[in-house]
C-alpha cells in the first residue's frame, strides 16, 4: 500500500502512510510543545507579555508556486534548523542554568527534542520519496547557534527557540495535510461513501 501512488499531483507522489505518520507525530509534537512552553513560562515566571519577536529559522518564503518537493524541502530545512537550535538551547541552558535536580520541564524538553527528531526522519523520508533524495542536506550556515551571553537574554532566546519549534510544528501539520497525497483523496472518498450511506438510510 505504501507504494501506491496517485496521479495528477503537482510534483512527485508522496507516501500516504508516511504522510499520515508525519502528521500524527507533528500533532503529538505540537501538544508536547505547548506543554513545554507552559512549563517554561511557569518556571521562568514569564507572562504572556514577554515579547519574543522575530524568527530564528531562515527559509524561503512560502509560496503557492512551490511544488510538493519544494514545500517538503522548505519544511524539512526549517525543522532541521529548529532541531539544531533546540539542541543548542538545551546545551546552553544546561551549561549556564542547569545543575539542579531534573524535573518535569527537563523531561518535557527532551521529549520535544526526541519527537522533533522523529518528525525529521519522517519529513526526510517524504522528501526522499518526493524526489529530493539527491539533494544535499539543508545547510545550517548562518544559523545563530551561540545565543546571547546575558542570562536573561539567554532565557528569552531559549523561549524564542521553543516558540519557533511550536510555530514550525504547526506549519508542518498544515503543510503535510495540504500535500496532494492519497490521504486527502481517500478522506474525501470516505466521507462521500458515508454521505451516500446516510442518504440511503
Amino acid at each position: 500500500m505504501a507504494a501506491r501512488r496517485t496521479r495528477g499531483m503537482t510534483g512527485p507522489d508522496v507516501s500516504r502512510s508516511t504522510v499520515a505518520r508525519a502528521v500524527s507525530i507533528a500533532e503529538q509534537l505540537r501538544y508536547e510543545c505547548s506543554i513545554l512552553l507552559e512549563l517554561y513560562r511557569e518556571k521562568e515566571s514569564f507572562t504572556a507579555d514577554v515579547l519574543v519577536d522575530g524568527r530564528l529559522v531562515s527559509v524561503a518564503p512560502p509560496s503557492s508556486q512551490l511544488d510538493t518537493r519544494d514545500k517538503l524541502w522548505r519544511l524539512h530545512s526549517a525543522l532541521m534548523q529548529c532541531r539544531s537550535l533546540l539542541e543548542r538551547a538545551i546545551a546552553r541552558e544546561e551549561e549556564e542554568l542547569g545543575g539542579g535536580k531534573k524535573g518535569d520541564y527537563e523531561t518535557q524538553r527532551k521529549m520535544v527534542k526526541d519527537r522533533l527528531s522523529y518528525l525529521l526522519i519522517c519529513t526526510g523520508e517524504l522528501l526522499k520519496t518526493a524526489g529530493g533524495a539527491a539533494l544535499l542536506t539543508p545547510s545550517l550556515e548562518g544559523l545563530e547557534l551561540d545565543g546571547p551571553t546575558a542570562l536573561f537574554e539567554l532565557k528569552l532566546w531559549v523561549y524564542r527557540i521553543f516558540k519557533e519549534v511550536d510555530y514550525w510544528t504547526k506549519t508542518a501539520i498544515t503543510t503535510l495535510e495540504a500535500l496532494p497525497s492519497v490521504i486527502a483523496k481517500e478522506r474525501v472518498m470516505t466521507s462521500r461513501v458515508r454521505t451516500t450511506r446516510s442518504t440511503r438510510r
Binding site: K43, D49, V50, L97, G100, L151, F152
Partner: protein, 870 residues
C-alpha cells in the same frame, strides 16, 4: 601717615589697644585657616561595579576632614552628603575614600564634589566630577542592573531599569511580583527587593516592562546559600584507586575518582557565596567496598549446589572476603554467609530436590569490614530429582474383609521430582505370594479383597466419647509402659460403613494424646475415631471414640414428631431432622424458616410518638397565648426613640455626603430583606435640574465629588419603582424617613474625615429624599448598606441605628457599567456593593483583602448576579 606714639605720661587709650589686638588675632586666624582649608584638587574616581563601590581620591594638603557630596546628576538629588575624616594615604600621597552605592553605579550618572572642613570653616567646593551612568542618551537600548548577580538568601538588592530611549517606563517585576519603583533619572527607575528568598536553579528574573506591558529587558539574580556539602567519604573498589562521594543540598549525589589512594583528602566546595571544606582520611584496607561478583555459575545436585563467580580485579584473589549468598525459592529468601580469601565459590547445602532457586551474591572485606559491595546479578538453577519419600498409606477394611489401600498424595517436595506412578504390593506374611500393581500418579486408593486371607476378628470394643475443643477432637489413651510403638488414629463419618473416605494421622511413639483438627469436620455429624498401634506387625485396634464437632438436638423418643426451639432471635434458620437407627443416621430433611419482627408494635410506637408531640404543641400554644404579653416584650419589644444629633429627623432633611471621586453610589436595602421595609437609602446628588432632566440620564463618573444623601426611609411594598423627579413623592419619603430610628455618627478614615452632614434645609439644593428604585432596573446601583466599616452594624433583627465609624475600605461601583463591578480599594469612600450580589446584611471582618475575596466570591456565587448578567 598715621603715627603711633606711646606717651607714658598720658592715660592709655584702652579701646584702641583692644581693637588692634582683635584685628591682629583675626588676621592670624584667617591666615592660619587659609593655610589648612585647601580646596580639594585633582578629584579622581574609580569604580568596582560588582561591589557597587566608588573610590574617590583627591589632593588636599594636610586637611583631614572633608565634606563629600554625591548627587544624581540628572535630577540633582542628594544621594550622600556627609563630613568624613580622611587621612592622606602613605602609598599614594592622596586622600582616598570609598563609598558603596545602594543602587548599581550604572543606574544613573553621579556628581561628586568635596570641600575641606575645619570646624565650622570650609573651603570652596572642588570641581564636580561626574561618574557617567548607563542612562546617557547615547546608550539607547534598555538595560537592567545589576547583571546576573548571586546573593545570599535574605539579602536586599536594588535593581534599576534604564528604559529604551523613547519608551515609557511601565514596571519592574521581581519574579511574579510587581515592585514599587523610584525614579533615578529621566530613563532610570529603581526598586529594592528586601529579604530575598531562595530562587530556583535558573535564578529569579527581574524584568523591566514598558508602559505597554512589553518586555524591555531583564536580568537574572541567583539567591542561594553558601555551599554545604555532606557525606564526604572515600572508598576503593579496585583496591588501588579512590572513589570519592559527597552530597550537596540541592543536587544529586556526586562522585569522582582519584587514581591512587592518598589516605587524606580535603573537599573544598566553593560557590560565589562562600566555601566549605570537609576532610576524610583512612587506610585503603579500611575502605574496601568490593565490586559485585561477576559471571555467576552453578553446579546443582539434588540437595546441594555449588555457586561460582569471578572477580573483576586480580587483587581480590588475596583479599579476605565475607560473602552473603541470598537464595530465593518459591518466594522465600534465605541468606547464607561464607568467608575466605579471594572467595569465589560456595556450596549451598540442604536444598530441596527438583526445586527452582535463584541466587545473588555480595561481599565485603572480612577484616576491617567497611560496607557490603553491590549485589551480583541474579543467577538461577534447578536441583536434580531423586526418589520420592514413601507415601503415608493406610488400609480400610469392611466387615466382609474387602477394603482398600489408601495413601495421601505426595507434596511437591515429598515427590522430589516428577511422579511417574505408584507401586502397590500386597502379600501375606504367611504366604510367599505377592501381588504387585503399578498405578498412575493420580491414584490414591486401590481396592483389596482379603476374604481368602483373613481370619475373623471381633470388633466389639467399647466406644468412648471424643470431645471437640478449640484445637480439634482431643483424644487421650492409656499407654502400655512396655510398648514403644507408634500409633495411628483413624477417623471417618460414623454413618459410613462401606469403603469409607477415611482419614488418619500417625502419632509418634510415646505420645498418649492427640488433637485432631480437620477442615472436613462438620457440625451435627458424628465421627468415629480409632486408635491403632503401628508396628511392623499388622496394626492392632487399641481404642475407639465417637464424637461430634457440634452436637445438635437429639430426640431420644423415637415416637416424637415435634421439637420446640426457644429463645431464637430474628433471622433465618435451617432445621435438619435425621433419623437414627442402630446402623447410623440418614441424610436428614431440612426446613428453613425466617423470624421477622413484630410489625404491629412498630406502628403503635409511631402513633404514640405522634400523640405525645401533638400534646406538647398544644400545651406550648396554650402557654404562649396565656403569656402573650411577656412574649411580645421578650421577642418584639417596642423600638425606642433614637437619639439624634440635632433635629434632622423631624425636619425630613436628607443627609448630604460628599464622597470622593467616582463614588456615585446608591444604597438601598432590598425590600425583600426586611419585612419592616425600613431601609437606608442613598441617592446621588443630582444636577440642579428643575425639569428633572438629569435624573433620567445615565450617571457618569465625574471628577467632582458628588454628594450622597442618606435617607432613613420606609420603602413601600411596591417593587422598586422608577426614579421620579416629583418633589411631592420625595417629600413623602422624607416624611416617612423622619419616623424611623437611624443615627449617623459619621465616617472617618485614617487619611481623611468623612462625615455625614446634617442638612437641616433638606431640599435647599433641590434634592428631595426619595426612593429611587429606577436605578436598580436601569443602573443596578441600588444596594443594601454593605461596607466593611470598623463599626458598621446593621442587624436586621434589632433594627438598631446604623453606625458608620472609621471606614477602612471600600469598593466602588462603576456607575457606567450597571450590574458590573469595578472593585477598587479606595480609602475613605463609601463601600457600595452591587444590590444583586448582596446577601442580607451582616457583620464582616475587617480584613480588607479577605472582604474583597468574599465579595468576589459572593458575586460569583449569587444567583442574582448570574441573572443580572444573563
Amino acid at each position: 601717615m598715621p603715627h603711633l606714639s606711646v606717651n607714658p605720661s598720658s592715660k592709655p587709650n584702652c579701646s584702641t589697644v583692644w581693637l588692634i589686638s582683635v584685628l591682629l588675632g583675626l588676621l592670624a586666624v584667617h591666615t592660619n585657616a587659609n593655610d589648612v582649608l585647601t580646596v580639594p584638587q585633582q578629584v579622581s574616581l574609580s569604580t568596582n561595579m560588582d561591589s557597587q563601590q566608588l573610590s574617590i581620591s583627591w589632593l588636599a594638603g594636610a586637611a583631614t576632614t572633608f565634606d563629600l557630596m554625591i548627587l544624581r546628576t540628572e535630577l540633582n538629588e542628594n544621594v550622600f552628603y556627609e563630613t568624613v575624616s580622611v587621612m592622606v594615604s602613605q602609598l599614594s600621597g592622596r586622600h582616598e575614600w570609598n563609598w558603596t552605592s545602594v543602587e548599581p553605579l550604572q543606574c544613573t550618572s553621579l556628581s561628586i564634589k568635596i570641600r575641606s572642613r575645619e570646624g565650622q570653616s570650609t573651603s570652596e567646593w572642588s570641581n564636580t566630577e561626574i561618574l557617567q551612568g548607563s542612562d546617557l542618551p547615547s546608550e539607547e537600548e534598555c538595560q537592567v542592573f545589576p547583571l546576573d548577580r548571586v546573593v545570599p538568601v535574605g539579602a536586599n538588592t536594588t535593581f534599576c531599569c534604564i528604559v529604551k530611549e523613547g519608551n515609557q517606563f511601565g514596571s519592574i517585576n521581581y519574579g511574579k511580583t510587581v515592585m514599587n519603583t523610584t525614579r533615578l533619572s529621566r530613563r532610570s527607575y529603581a526598586t529594592t527587593v528586601v529579604n530575598q528568598g531562595l530562587s530556583g536553579s535558573s535564578g529569579t528574573n527581574v524584568v523591566c516592562y514598558n508602559n505597554f506591558k512589553g518586555t524591555e529587558n531583564g536580568v537574572v539574580v541567583f539567591v542561594g546559600y553558601p555551599p554545604l556539602p555532606s557525606d564526604f567519604v572515600c572508598e576503593t573498589h579496585d583496591l588501588t584507586s579512590a572513589d570519592i562521594y559527597f552530597e550537596l543540598v540541592t543536587e544529586p549525589k556526586k562522585e569522582c575518582r582519584v587514581d591512587h589512594w592518598e589516605g587524606n583528602w580535603t573537599l573544598v566546595v566553593v560557590n560565589p557565596l562562600g566555601q566549605y571544606s570537609l576532610t576524610d582520611s583512612a587506610e585503603l584496607s579500611h575502605r574496601v567496598t568490593p565490586v559485585a561478583p561477576e559471571n555467576l555459575t552453578s553446579v546443582a545436585h539434588a540437595t546441594n549446589a555449588t555457586v561460582l563467580w569471578q572477580w573483576k580485579y586480580d587483587g581480590y584473589s588475596s583479599l579476605a572476603l565475607v560473602c552473603q549468598v541470598e537464595l530465593t525459592s518459591q518466594g522465600y529468601k534465605t541468606n547464607h554467609t561464607f568467608s575466605g580469601v579471594g572467595l569465589r565459590a560456595v556450596v549451598l547445602p540442604d536444598l530441596y530436590p527438583y526445586e527452582d532457586y535463584s541466587v545473588q551474591v555480595r561481599c565485603g572485606a572480612q577484616q576491617n569490614f567497611w560496607k557490603w559491595g553491590s549485589w551480583s546479578e541474579t543467577m538461577s538453577f534447578k536441583t536434580s530429582s531423586i526418589v520420592p519419600e514413601a507415601p503415608d498409606m493406610w488400609v480400610w477394611m469392611n466387615k466382609d474383609y474387602t477394603g482398600q489401600v489408601i495413601w495421601k498424595p505426595l507434596t511437591r517436595r515429598q515427590s522430589r521430582g516428577l511422579m511417574t506412578g505408584y507401586e502397590v504390593t500386597l502379600w501375606s506374611p504367611e504366604e510367599s505370594l505377592q501381588h504387585t500393581e503399578i498405578l498412575p500418579p493420580d491414584t490414591f486408593a486401590v481396592p483389596v479383597n482379603l476374604t481368602q486371607m483373613a481370619t475373623a476378628s471381633s470388633d466389639n470394643m467399647v466406644m468412648a466419647t471424643a470431645v471437640y475443643t478449640d484445637s480439634g477432637f482431643f483424644l487421650f489413651w492409656q499407654s502400655d509402659v512396655n510398648t514403644t510403638c507408634a500409633y495411628v488414629v483413624e477417623w471417618h463419618n460414623a454413618s459410613c460403613k462401606w469403603n469409607c473416605p477415611v482419614d488418619w494421622i500417625k502419632v509418634a511413639p510415646g505420645n498418649t494424646n492427640v488433637s485432631i483438627e480437620s477442615a472436613n469436620f462438620q457440625p451435627g455429624v458424628r465421627y468415629d475415631f480409632s486408635l491403632y498401634s503401628s508396628s511392623s506387625e499388622a496394626p492392632e485396634l487399641l481404642q475407639r471414640w465417637q464424637g461430634y464437632m457440634q452436637e445438635l438436638a437429639n430426640l431420644s423418643d423415637p415416637g416424637s414428631r415435634s421439637y420446640t426451639v426457644k429463645s431464637l432471635s430474628e433471622g433465618s434458620y435451617k432445621f435438619t431432622v435425621k433419623a437414627y437407627t442402630s446402623a447410623g443416621e440418614d441424610t436428614g430433611a431440612t426446613a428453613s424458616i425466617m423470624l421477622e419482627p413484630f410489625t404491629d408494635w412498630l406502628i403503635l410506637e409511631i402513633l404514640a410518638s405522634l400523640g405525645v408531640t401533638a400534646l406538647f404543641l398544644v400545651i406550648v400554644t396554650f402557654l404562649c397565648y396565656k403569656k402573650r404579653k411577656w412574649v411580645k416584650k421578650a421577642f418584639y419589644p417596642d423600638i425606642p426613640e433614637p437619639k439624634l444629633p440635632g433635629d434632622w429627623s423631624r425636619s425630613q432633611a436628607p443627609l448630604d455626603v460628599k464622597p470622593p471621586h467616582h463614588s456615585l453610589v446608591h444604597m438601598v436595602e432590598r425590600p425583600e430583606w426586611d419585612s419592616s421595609k425600613e431601609a437606608l437609602v442613598v441617592i446621588p446628588e443630582e444636577d440642579e435640574d428643575e425639569d428633572g432632566q438629569g435624573i433620567g440620564d445615565e450617571l457618569v463618573d465625574t471628577d467632582e465629588p458628588t454628594s450622597l444623601r442618606y435617607y432613613n426611609q420606609v420603602v413601600d411594598e411596591r417593587p422598586i419603582r422608577p426614579r421620579y423627579p416629583d418633589s411631592s413623592d420625595s417629600s413623602a419619603s422624607s416624611l416617612d424617613s423622619a419616623r424611623t430610628d437611624v443615627t449617623y455618627t459619621g465616617i472617618q478614615t485614617s487619611g481623611s474625615s468623612f462625615v455625614f452632614q446634617l442638612d437641616p434645609q433638606g431640599s435647599s439644593e433641590g434634592h428631595q429624599p426619595q426612593a429611587d428604585p429606577s436605578s436598580v432596573q436601569e443602573e443596578g446601583e441600588v444596594t443594601g448598606p454593605r461596607c466593611n466599616l470598623e463599626s458598621l452594624v446593621m442587624t436586621r433583627a434589632q433594627r438598631h441605628p446604623i453606625l458608620f465609624q472609621s471606614p477602612r475600605l471600600l469598593v466602588a461601583t462603576n456607575p457606567r457599567a450597571p450590574g458590573k463591578w469595578t472593585p477598587r480599594w479606595t480609602m475613605g469612600k463609601v463601600a457600595a456593593v452591587h444590590p444583586l450580589l448582596v446577601p442580607p446584611p451582616q457583620l464582616l471582618p475587617l480584613s480588607s483583602s479577605s472582604l474583597m475575596e468574599r465579595i468576589i466570591q459572593r458575586r460569583n456565587d449569587s444567583p442574582h448576579h448570574q441573572q443580572q448578567h444573563g
